[in-house]
């Protein structure tokens, strides 16, 4: 069952990712991305991290994707479809990316064989780590959000008489 679910999520995730970058309209990409993110939540669930899986759905598929869709609605739809892609020598770039992937693939396959599963999803434990060992990064995220809030607010608030 687990393996079946894995394969299902894997196929959905990979196909979804390909859809994200294959679509010309941003809104389709966004919808594909939601599917990918959900299947990632599925992975987390399969691995036994049900809390993270829930957060994945809430934060990503919920909050972040809403932002995306909102912006696309605001701007993207009006800009319409992306013009046909002029690839020039970017084929080479894709080849290079694939080469990097191949190298990583090789080392993963040859060097990572451990199967040690220890599954506990005690939210209490997570919070202990977050407020203990990772308290600094955890607090840092609040500064991060402060910065993002101020920045996004400043950028978007302007009346913006655009100079062309």
């Amino acid at each position: 069952m687990e393996s079946l679910l894995f394969w299902f999520f894997a196929i959905v995730a990979v196909a979804g990712s390909i859809m994200v970058i294959a679509q010309r309209r941003a809104i389709y990409s966004a919808l594909s991305l939601i599917i990918v993110l959900c299947s990632f939540a599925g992975f987390f669930f399969l691995l036994g991290a049900s809390f993270v899986a829930a957060m994945q759905v809430i934060v990503y598929a919920g909050a972040i994707m809403i932002l995306f869709v909102f912006i696309i609605w605001l701007l993207g739809l009006r800009t319409g479809e992306e013009p046909a892609i002029k690839m020039k020598w970017f084929y080479l770039a894709i080849v290079f990316c694939l080469l990097i992937g191949a190298q990583l693939f090789y080392i993963f396959v040859t060097n990572f064989k451990e199967v040690v599963l220890e599954r506990s999803t005690d939210i209490k434990e997570i919070s202990k780590v977050l407020l203990g060992k990772y308290v600094i990064p955890f607090e840092l995220t609040s500064i991060l959000f402060l910065a993002a809030l101020v920045g996004a607010f400043y950028l978007a608030k302007g009346k913006g008489k655009a100079e062309k």
């Binding site: 991305l33 992975f43 995306f68 990316c97 997570i126 996004a152 950028l155």
Partner: protein, 99 residues
């Protein structure tokens, strides 16, 4: 179910995210590609976490999610400003600065 299958899925998604940078031109889509990359990293982290410290890995994943959220917020706000100037979001056509 071999664990490194997860790793390979994560790798594939990561590489697809990178490739997205070369075949997409819409800024919004590019940002989505970054999200793919960050998610791939998250998945890999979880897999490694099964070996080294399950709870820690989950905590880190949560932190990374917040980073992604903040980045998206600022990025999208920037795109609004860009749109005011260019009336489009195609990165290829923003070449005032060069040389």
């Amino acid at each position: 179910m071999e664990l490194y299958y997860y790793l390979i899925v994560s790798l594939i998604v990561f590489i697809i995210g990178m490739i997205g940078f070369f075949i997409r031109r819409n800024l919004i889509t590019l940002l989505m590609c970054v999200e793919l990359m960050l998610n791939a990293a998250n998945l890999a982290l979880m897999v490694f976490g099964t070996k080294w410290g399950w709870i820690e890995a989950q905590a880190i994943v949560l932190l990374v999610m917040t980073v992604a959220a903040a980045e998206v917020a600022v990025g999208l706000a920037l795109m609004i400003v860009v749109y005011k100037h260019y009336s489009h979001l195609f990165i290829d056509q923003m070449t005032k600065l060069k040389g």
